[in-house]
């Protein structure tokens, strides 16, 4: 009995989400192909960013907003390639190359700060994100086009310096997603896609039971798979082992001679660099760089998705990432329309979505705290000897 309860309790957050989704999906009235398409897009778009959170969690640095710094670095890389007019895959790779050193420097800075705020990483990095956001905005709004050479008039405000609010990333839009065009199609919709790809060849599969068609961002998924392999490999390295050790007990790791602070900084640097790549992948899918806001919610949404996937502050797996992306974004897709169809007013749909989505993030955090308390209780129970079982 207790075991069943434990299983439910340990997966309470995903369970709540699955239940709500089960009600919301039929209410929304969306077709299966639309939902699958949207989910695939969002897996491709967001999972890299979320995966970048895993390594700091492994090193015991909790859910960490340091990744926001990486996202900013990625955006700076993108701004440069937009200015130079580098397009396609070379453009994306070059943006990564430019973003990497910036992400490393920001990561080292962030790591040093977090080493001074051990145990309060989540809040510290959140505030640090604001601080760096200020620096970023100053750089982009005042230095670019003035000290940092940006010449493209479609990027600059007409006053001559400062980058515009929205930068179109047409040059690299969907470039990775459509690198290996793959389409699953039912009986309909084939003709349209042939048209879009302008006669280029693509992989096509036909599933008779499917209505409509689904494009699969195959190359993006391959990149994400490679990243997952990287994480699995990384866990097996000495560095990964050290991070796991630090994550479980800093003092023990320290007395064993593991350079705790340095390793923590490395963890953050890896996270920011990966977040930098993640943001580039995210934005190549979005197609527009919202210069001053794109990175804003990157951290918050990634962390929320990870929590909803069943991860905790101290433990997160690759499976959590994917479960989280699917559940969190499923909610985001269906909740507004489900709310609207339920109540009949369009704006109620939006409020319903906000209420449900953020409410559940709050529940996730509360449940998480509750779970941690339970674990602590359980750990104590073992100390109480045989008389303590009541």
């Amino acid at each position: 009995m207790r075991k069943i309860f434990d299983i439910i309790a340990n997966n309470a957050v995903p369970a709540v989400f699955i239940i709500i989704s089960a009600f919301a999906i039929p209410l929304s009235g969306y077709s299966a192909s639309y939902l699958v398409q949207e989910l695939l897009t969002r897996i491709g778009r967001n999972s890299f960013l979320i995966l970048s959170l895993l390594i700091p969690i492994m090193a015991g640095m909790g859910l960490n907003f340091g990744m926001v710094l990486g996202a900013m670095a990625g955006q700076i890389g993108l701004l440069f390639i937009c200015d130079w007019g580098i397009v396609g895959i070379p453009g994306m790779v070059l943006a990564c190359l430019i973003g990497t050193p910036i992400a490393i420097v920001l990561g080292i800075f962030c790591g040093h700060v977090l080493n001074r705020a051990k145990g309060r990483e989540m809040v510290t990095s959140y505030i640090l994100g604001f601080f760096i956001n200020g620096v970023y905005q100053m750089t982009v709004l005042y230095l670019m086009g003035w000290i940092i050479p940006i010449t493209n008039p479609t990027l600059l405000l007409s006053r001559g310096y400062g980058v515009r609010n929205a930068v179109s990333l047409l040059g690299i839009r969907g470039i990775l997603d459509n690198l290996i065009p793959t389409i699953i199609t039912g009986t309909q919709g084939t003709a349209q896609f042939v048209n879009i790809n302008g006669g280029k060849s693509f992989i096509m599969m036909q599933l008779p039971f499917l209505e409509g068609s689904i494009r699969i961002p195959l190359a993006t998924l391959i990149v994400i798979a490679l990243f997952c392999i990287f994480i699995v490999w990384f866990r097996k390295t000495k560095l990964g082992q050290d991070m796991r050790a630090i994550g479980q007990s800093q003092s023990v790791a320290d007395s064993a001679g593991i350079p705790v602070n340095r390793t923590r900084i490395i963890a953050i640097v890896i996270s920011t660099v990966l977040a930098c790549y993640g943001q580039i992948i995210y934005l190549q899918n979005m197609g527009t760089l919202n210069t001053y806001n794109s990175h804003d919610q990157a951290g918050m949404f990634s962390i929320a998705a990870l929590l909803i996937g069943g991860a905790s502050v101290s433990k997160a797996t690759i499976a959590n990432v994917f479960a989280g992306v699917i559940l969190f974004h499923l909610m985001f897709i269906v909740a507004p329309v489900a709310g609207k169809n339920l109540i009949g007013d369009a704006q109620i749909g939006e409020y319903f979505r906000v209420f449900v989505s953020y409410g559940i993030i709050a529940i996730a955090l509360v449940l998480h705290a509750w779970r941690r308390n339970r674990e602590r209780e359980a750990a104590r129970r073992s100390l109480r000897g045989n008389k303590g079982d009541e």
């Binding site: 390639i81 130079w84 007019g85 580098i86 397009v87 396609g88 895959i89 070379p90 453009g91 790779v93 070059l94 190359l97 430019i98 050479p149 040059g171």
Partner: protein
Amino acid sequence: MTMFNEYWEIVRTFLDAYGVSYELAGLIVLVLIWLLLFLGRGLSFFRFLMRWYQRLIIVTGLVALGFWLFYVGREHQILLDNKNVNGLKALEQVNVSINGGESAELMPGDRDMRKAVGPEFEVKAEILDDNGEVVSTITKTVKIGCVKNMTISLPALAAGSEDFTLPLK
């Protein structure tokens, strides 16, 4: 060696584009080397050498990759110009496509713009007469390098001149 020259060419255009002097570039390279040495401190000589050496190769490789990406990924605006130049009369009608893309229809005095990616592109011009019949087709591969914009004078191209980019020399 040609490879090297080509790279040097890219680096030079890049440096020139941003007004970076060669001395400064050299200084940056020296600082990078120093940084590598600095990172290798505290290691035995052999390992230090290995690390230094390998890191240098990696960083150089990455920088070279960056320049190469810049080279192959750059998008150029190709302005197609059908106006009278140097005594050459504008063409009656010409359909131009770049790298087999959507073709532009130009009447005398027209100017249109197409985009091309990479250091060279293929321009295909179909010259039409008054009746809309194709008189001749010219296909040419143009090297553009890292230059951002290029204007092609179609009358000059049609005349078979090698010097068809505006402004004409």
